[in-house]
Amino acid sequence: MLFADAGALFAVLISDDSHHLDASRVAAENRESRERLWTIDPVLTELWLLLRRDLGQVRADEAVGGLTKQGLQRESLRAEDFARSWQFGADWADQEFALTDRQAFSVMERTNRLRAWSYDKDFAIIRLGERRHHPLEIVR
């Protein structure tokens, strides 16, 4: 199970992005490996906002809907994930992790799915677990 953040999904969809070639390769590898791709709803909201800025609402809707039709799975946030998100903010006060990213870290920790497709440096910084022993396996 491979988590995808908004940047990774944006880079797949948008041919102008500097990470587009890398993201295209990851998407092709993902299809070959049949590893399921998952995300959380806040990531899709971020992505929709990014797309809407340049493409407009209709095409942003189409793009985000297309991702889920192609098998991108949505993992629901639980109450404990919200609580853990605030804790990440307090524990990593020297960082400026976005709330969406902290929510993703919480779900990854809870589900023990540590593979993340992201071009965001924060995913390489975070360590999960009470003792911060567990880095994410970054795919990019």
Binding site: M1, A6, G7, L9, F10, A11, V12, L13, I14, S15, D16, D17, S18, H19, H20, A23, S24, A27, A28, N30, R31, R34, E35, R36, L37, E46, L49, L50, L51, R52, R53, D54, L55, R59, A63, G66, L67, Q70, G71, L72, Q73, A98, E109, R110, T111, N112, Y119, D120, K121, L128, G129, H134
Partner: protein
């Protein structure tokens, strides 16, 4: 929980991996094994294939979402006002 039991013998490495996963997620080792089976063997959802969407859109200018996502989001939110 109703169900069927099944004897399972693990290598030391496999046992340690499951124990570590249980510690990380705050669940039992049994729950970790059940979760792995659900994800890899039971799920009826189709595999992901994003390749038909590769490069489906152009925004008409270069972007670097890895480095500039926060700025891009601020612009996007400003446009909503």
């Amino acid at each position: 929980m109703s169900g069927r039991s099944f004897p399972l013998y693990l290598t030391e490495e496999q046992h340690a991996a499951i124990r570590q996963a249980a510690e990380l997620s705050g669940s039992s080792m049994t729950e970790v094994v059940r979760g792995l089976i659900d994800v890899h063997l039971v799920s009826d959802s189709p595999p992901t294939d994003l390749t038909p969407l590769i490069g489906a859109y152009s925004v008409g200018h270069p972007t670097d979402v890895g480095a500039e996502k926060d700025t891009m989001l601020e612009d996007a939110l400003s446009a909503l006002r």
